[in-house]
Symmetry: D2
Subunit: 101 residues, 4 copies
């Protein structure tokens, strides 16, 4: 099953600077062959269900191994059976409506 | 890996009444041996990582099979390595602070 | 505008135990006259738009004042114009479907 | 209070194509003077608390007025008192860690 997701992972108990944990997770997602796009409040991910959730589990394991005792993650994910759709399609669809006055 | 999660599944393209899809998902989560607690904006789930994410995948498959062409899910999930914690522990912890003036 | 919401507030930079911050926020929401229901991964809130978002802003201010330098919040909220619906209605609606074999 | 947020608005009861509703909301956020950045699963928003939440309320009102009887929104938002931070800062911070082998 094809999935488009948005991952926002928050490590707790390691202070306020969390970017090095996020960077490590980005590496794991990329290495898993997933299409990713970092934004200011998370990361868009596109790929197959099993690959994606296995990679996200690896992120949790890695971030715990880096010393974060607690992680609170918010994940949005969408699936559809009516048609194939990519992350780029979703953005293009809104932008087309915006370009019309 | 032990996980406490909060699942909010929104089927699109099936009108405004979505409770029968949610009920079906509750059945799947229960049948998977997960501890669940329905609330007004989702379902708390407690269990092992693989069981939980496999059950959530089944929910998406089932809801598509019931006729929903599109599903947008929001999932929060937390893991911790510092200590074991249940859903009941989390609630009790806040309630204890509330009972102190 | 009537709103049913689910608030999950995560203070960063204060260690792994965050329940005392959550308890303080519960007090603010209650004092604002909102209907609230604590669960294992957040708090359901029901009330009028302005009351709710003003109270949530107070929560952020209070938790910063308590010493948390950073807060990351996930809020789900729903509005509907087709009919009035309470938190209790939403739960009942799913439970009725569950009770039918 | 300065806020960085991520808004994902899901209209229900209007079929599976929701981009024209999202586009309308983008217009409202922009017109409110907020900095916005569309991505594949939502929109990053940066600005002052009151401006942001007032604009989001306008989005709900507008989308209901366009014919959507129900809206389910997921909003993540962060505030911090330790230092000023922009959306661009957050992305740069992760990218710097990624550029180091």
């Amino acid at each position: 099953m094809h999935v488009i997701a948005d991952l926002c992972l928050v490590p707790l108990g390691v202070g306020v600077s969390v970017s090095r944990y996020i960077a490590e997770c980005e590496r794991i997602l990329s290495a898993a062959g997933l299409k990713i796009e970092l934004h200011a409040y998370g990361t868009n991910i596109e790929g197959e269900w099993d690959d994606m959730f296995q990679a996200i589990q690896q992120c949790h394991k890695k971030i715990h191994a880096m010393g974060a005792p607690r992680i609170s993650t918010t994940l949005k994910f969408g699936t559809r059976t009516d048609r194939a759709q990519t992350m780029a399609d979703k953005i293009k669809s809104v932008q087309e409506k915006l370009s019309k006055s």
